[in-house]
């Protein structure tokens, strides 16, 4: 299945890249992270690498949200296989990000441009971010009364993103500074713990729901999961090109 997913991702890469490029969500990160990380210390290669990795994670999450195209639902796949497709697709994206991290940071360590402790710190923030940002689906906007269904999905996600961003920025500011105050180390620690907790909550609480919902076309097409369902909603769904 992983081979098929890889082939699917590869085959549609250009189209997905264009989709992510046009999707403003990705570019918010591009502009927010770029000045905040790189301007802190222009000579810090680690920070620049980190920015690249964060941007890659966002792009991948936007390019391949946890959903399947209608054609895939028509293919001979059982429900279990569709679930497997979505789960492995998620793991593949996380895996690609992890691989990219080490591909960038191992040479930096070897060249003496990044320290192992720095790499470890960035890794914690990065893993948290990657697992969190990939808990994402194309059909979120179609869920009526989203928070009622998803609990406090958007709240946790927002907290996670903001803390993660502030944490990594603080981390590099402290790392590059000649001397740092105790509160700054405490801040980094707090940021790390919070971002890890947020990512764990996102993965445990929301990822299974998103996957379960996208396993069946009916839920994606009609944009509901048993709450607020109506025939009118079906027709107001901009992505529904079908008719009754």
């Amino acid at each position: 299945m992983l081979k098929y997913i890889w082939k699917d991702y590869k085959a549609d890469f250009k189209g997905r890249l264009k989709y992510a490029y046009l999707h403003t969500h990705s570019w918010i990160y591009f502009f927010v992270y770029l000045p905040l990380i790189c301007s802190w210390d222009i000579h810090s290669l680690g920070a620049a690498a980190a920015w690249l990795l964060w941007f890659e994670a966002v792009m991948l999450a936007e390019m391949y949200p946890n959903y399947m195209s209608k054609a895939m639902y028509l293919c001979p796949l059982s429900r279990q296989q569709r679930r497997e497709y979505l789960i492995k697709g998620y793991l593949l994206k996380v895996g690609i990000c992890m691989a990219s991290f080490w591909i960038l940071f191992v040479p930096l360590i070897l060249l003496g441009k990044a320290e192992p402790l720095e790499t470890l710190g960035v890794f914690v923030f990065y893993v948290s971010f990657v697992v969190m940002v990939n808990v994402h689906t194309k059909y979120e906007k179609n869920i009526p009364n989203k928070d009622a269904y998803m609990g406090y999905y958007s709240v946790w996600r927002l907290i996670g993103y903001v803390v993660n961003l502030m944490g990594i920025v603080l981390f590099y500011s402290v790392w590059d500074a000649q001397s740092s105050a105790l509160w700054e180390y405490i801040g980094i620690g707090m940021g790390m713990i919070t971002t890890v907790i947020c990512s764990i909550i996102m993965v445990i609480r929301y990822l299974p729901r998103i996957i379960e919902r996208n396993v069946d076309y009916e839920n994606c097409d009609r944009g509901y999961f048993g709450i607020g369902d109506s025939y009118e909603n079906h027709h107001s769904n901009a992505r529904n090109y079908g008719n009754l």
Partner: protein, 294 residues
């Protein structure tokens, strides 16, 4: 080939009720009905895009719920919408989805694309609506399904290809091992190729019967208004009166007797649909629940 057994599906504001029919191998079944009658919902249920609230669907003897994968192997689908990514070429698209089918044959796809004048290296996004449907049709045939599900495909075909399309589906069922379920508004096509007809109205099956029985079940009566009014009311499905002349769709039987001054013809599918829908509208519900299941 296809058995739909007492299938119901409820949405808020719409309900597909107790659909029950059987399509044998080697036949073409036409599904028709007005907009919102549930044709696409029925097809979505057969494609397992929707889950039925009640009832069972069997494809070539296999329960769709028990073996979704096996059933979908047997299905070739043409939908009246874009289902392939626009940025990929025809070959890339077919290879991407074809790998999930056991019987996918790329050479067969190439043959059909050549026959339909579709350039394989062109991106799907560059194709016209009609060409996209032709491509869906070529892909559907390339994995050698046993049952073709076609949801209003002909509306976007040029007249030349429409003839070719009807010829292909007739060839497809000719070996007696394949079947076609064709949902369409263009009743002219159905009239040409349909062996069985399933008429849906407001989510209910108004009738499901074979061509010969359908032709024997109804008559169109044309004549002066007062002559039409003399017809037995329980036989009249619906009558439309003009200033002097009118026409009525009536239930027919071998023993039916008509006035010599009226013209009696076999109605077209379009006439049956029009008058039955009118009857349903004027009475709140159709009075022709001829549940003669195939």
């Amino acid at each position: 080939m296809l058995k739909v057994s007492h299938v119901s599906k409820k949405f808020q504001g719409f309900c597909l009720k107790d659909v029950d029919f059987y399509l044998p191998k080697g036949y073409i079944c036409g599904v028709f009905g007005p907009n919102g009658s549930g044709k696409t919902t029925l097809l979505n249920l057969i494609m397992k895009l929707y889950r039925a609230d009640k009832g069972e669907i069997f494809i070539d003897g296999t329960d769709l719920c028990q073996d979704e994968r096996g059933c979908k192997e047997q299905l070739g689908v043409v939908l009246n919408e874009d289902i392939f990514p626009d940025n990929m070429t025809l070959t890339e698209n077919a290879d991407m989805l074809g790998k999930y089918y056991r019987n996918y044959d790329r050479r067969l796809l190439e043959d059909y694309c050549e026959r339909f004048f579709l350039p394989l290296n062109r991106k799907c996004g560059k194709l016209s609506k009609g060409e996209k449907l032709k491509y869906q049709f070529a892909f559907a045939l390339s994995h050698q399904p046993k049952l073709l599900l076609l949801d209003e495909p002909t509306a976007n075909f040029d007249p030349e290809f429409r003839t070719e399309f009807l010829k292909i589906i007739t060839e497809f069922v000719s070996d007696g091992e394949h079947s076609v379920l064709l949902a369409t508004h263009i009743l002219e096509d159905l009239q040409q190729v349909g062996d069985y007809f399933l008429f849906l109205e407001k989510g209910e099956v108004t009738f499901a019967m074979e061509r010969s029985r359908l032709e024997d079940s109804y008559r169109m009566v044309l004549g002066e208004n007062y002559k039409l009014k003399l017809l037995k009311p329980d036989r009249v499905v619906y009558a439309e009166y003009g200033k002097e002349m009118g026409k009525a769709l009536v239930r027919h039987s071998a023993y039916a007797v008509y006035d010599k001054e009226v013209t009696v013809t076999v109605p077209s599918l379009e006439e049956i649909m029009y008058f039955t829908v009118k009857a349903g509208g004027s009475r709140g519900k159709s009075k022709t629940p001829t549940q003669d299941f195939i």
